[in-house]
Symmetry: C2
DNA sequence: TTGTAGGCGTTATCAT
DNA sequence: ATGATAACGCCTACAA
């Protein structure tokens, strides 16, 4: 009958014990553990051996207390997790983040930006619980994070929307360029009455993709009025498609700012008796699993989601390591993936 | 020119400083911070005031070092995050978990069970980095966690598949009962050639739902052979539906073990010229956003995903607080939500 | 009820 | 290059 499992944790070996086994001082063991160069090879060997024998693992709390660093970074995600994670794009980003972090000793603290961000979340971050922060998918108005950069290194996923965040670090794709490529594809296959379902206007990615779309059509001397906004969900994309179809029944091409929204568009189009890509060709954005989960495989502008997450973590880790030479913006390439819809 | 942001963290007030301001000893401050009853009201007031003035927040590392507890719990999710989070059900569960945790001082560490679980993940967990663990969506074969319960409190989301995990703590819904309700609905509206798309056979939820389905049909004296397995994704559901349709062209009812798979089923059905619910009525499971994101709103067996996450965290927290009176299994209710598909 | 003092496991500053 | 020896901020007997 163990009364309380909690206290029963078997005593872990300590630096001290390793030192004794290796016949050196704690300080020396600490040095080899932390990879100091100023230790003679023989001693390194002896210590390493002792560590192996005892199966020693540094105590995080003690290390953190003494070094004043936590070896933890926060992942701040928006409050509405269902919608956030509902988009495979984000899931992939997070996976990339963890992949990079797994190569380090850093831990990932999941922080859901509560509706009361000024208090709990911010306080937690400021209070020294983490060494740095990764912030994903923040909309305009999430300015509460602006000041954070003064406290600790922060890296954004996607260009921050705040105009004053000029010196924010972020990794993103060139959304405008990607949108141009996607829209151009529609032109290339002969479509001339092209519309777009754009992402919410409060997110830079949405704005930039719309810009690229419009720019391409203008260049071709075509009108850019067939645009509807949606919220990056399948349902939103479906609704926007209905509105668009009502206004422009002669639509023959559609550039959609996300694959998830595009799946909604496909549903509605077929519902209205339009074939894809026969009547209406569609180009999506993301190349997420959603692109191939629907009835018609989507031609889409692929962005390296997982790699973006990896890059985010990588930039943060480098900054934490003292490397301030990182460029503020890391732009990843997009590429057009041809499937059935366009 | 700040050379290094990292070290610049402003010195937080310490217990010692609070003690001085309040005119008491550190020990006393510690007592009121930790809510000891044996402190006189006046002193509590004085200390509380000092804490407020200094804006004192306990240092996690120090507390953890002294108390041998981390105030952190791990959230272990399966390696394939894209598929994991791609299912809105899980996103909701995680949201529920964070909601409960937000009411406590516990932090959530996101752990992706790597393909090498025996090493990194397990080592991390065992090495005292967290006080407890929440484990979600583990398949058969994830037995690496079985031994974990001997080290620290663990709570599973969904019944663990391991037969020997008799005394594991978990929160789940009564999947079999839910499936019965859903299948019964199909009978009630007059369907007689009913099939099912079941979840992967290596997950208890999938197995139990299939059991409920079969039981109901047997009770009605109907055959239970029209079953195809899928992997809980939309694409998987679509493929399974194709196979099913091929074998049983006369299908008029379909019980699908998840809404996500059901959306795939709807797509295929319409593609084959079958109307929903006209030709084939469909009942899903989960009542996730996927249920209403497609072309036809799904009648579905609703499970309280968010509440389940909340309950998981709640059980864990109670156990961490020393309350071992919690029941091992927490079963949440399902209910049938009537929409358009059946 | 309150205070004293030792210890938690590291890191970091000095000497040596 | 290595070793004492302080911190680091808090908890917790034990004493008063």
């Amino acid at each position: 009958m163990t009364t309380s499992v909690r206290q029963a944790r078997p005593a872990q070996p300590t630096l001290e014990m390793v030192a004794e086994v290796a016949g050196v001082s704690r300080a020396t063991v600490s040095r080899v553990v932390n990879g100091s160069t100023k230790v003679s090879p023989e001693i390194v060997a002896a210590v390493t051996k002792a560590i192996g024998e005892l199966n020693y693992v540094p105590n995080r709390a003690a290390r953190s207390l003494a070094s004043r660093q936590t070896e933890a970074v926060a992942l701040v995600v928006p409050e509405d997790m269902t919608r956030f994670f509902g988009d495979p794009y984000f899931a992939a980003v997070v996976q990339g983040i963890t992949r990079r972090l797994d190569q380090s000793d850093y831990t990932l603290n999941l922080l859901v930006a509560s509706s009361d961000p000024r208090h709990k979340t911010l306080r937690y971050l400021r209070t020294g619980n983490v060494d740095g922060a990764l912030i994903i998918s923040h909309h305009t108005g999430d300015d509460f994070v602006a000041e954070l950069e003064t406290t600790m290194p922060v890296v954004f996923g996607g260009r921050p929307s705040n105009a004053d965040d000029l010196d924010a670090y972020f990794v993103d794709v060139d959304n405008a360029a990607g949108a141009e490529t996607g829209t151009q594809r529609l032109l290339d296959i002969g479509r001339r009455r092209i519309g777009s379902i754009a992402g919410a206007g409060d997110m830079p990615a949405g704005i930039d993709r719309l810009t690229g779309f419009a720019r391409t059509l203008e260049r071709a001397g075509l009108p850019t009025d067939a645009v509807e906004l949606a919220d990056f969900t399948a349902a939103g994309g479906a609704a926007a498609t209905r509105r668009l179809l009502e206004r422009y029944p002669d639509l023959d091409g559609l550039f959609v700012a996300s694959d998830l929204m595009a799946t909604g568009a496909v549903d509605v189009l077929r519902e209205f008796g339009r074939s894809v890509p026969g009547d209406v060709a569609i180009v999506g954005f993301d190349d997420s699993p959603a692109a191939t989960s629907g009835p018609v495989a989507l031609t889409t502008v692929s962005q390296p989601s997982e790699e973006m997450g990896y890059a985010m973590a990588d930039v943060l880790l480098r900054r934490l390591a003292g490397d301030e030479s990182m460029p503020h913006r890391t732009l990843m390439p997009t590429r057009l993936v041809l499937r059935d819809s366009a």
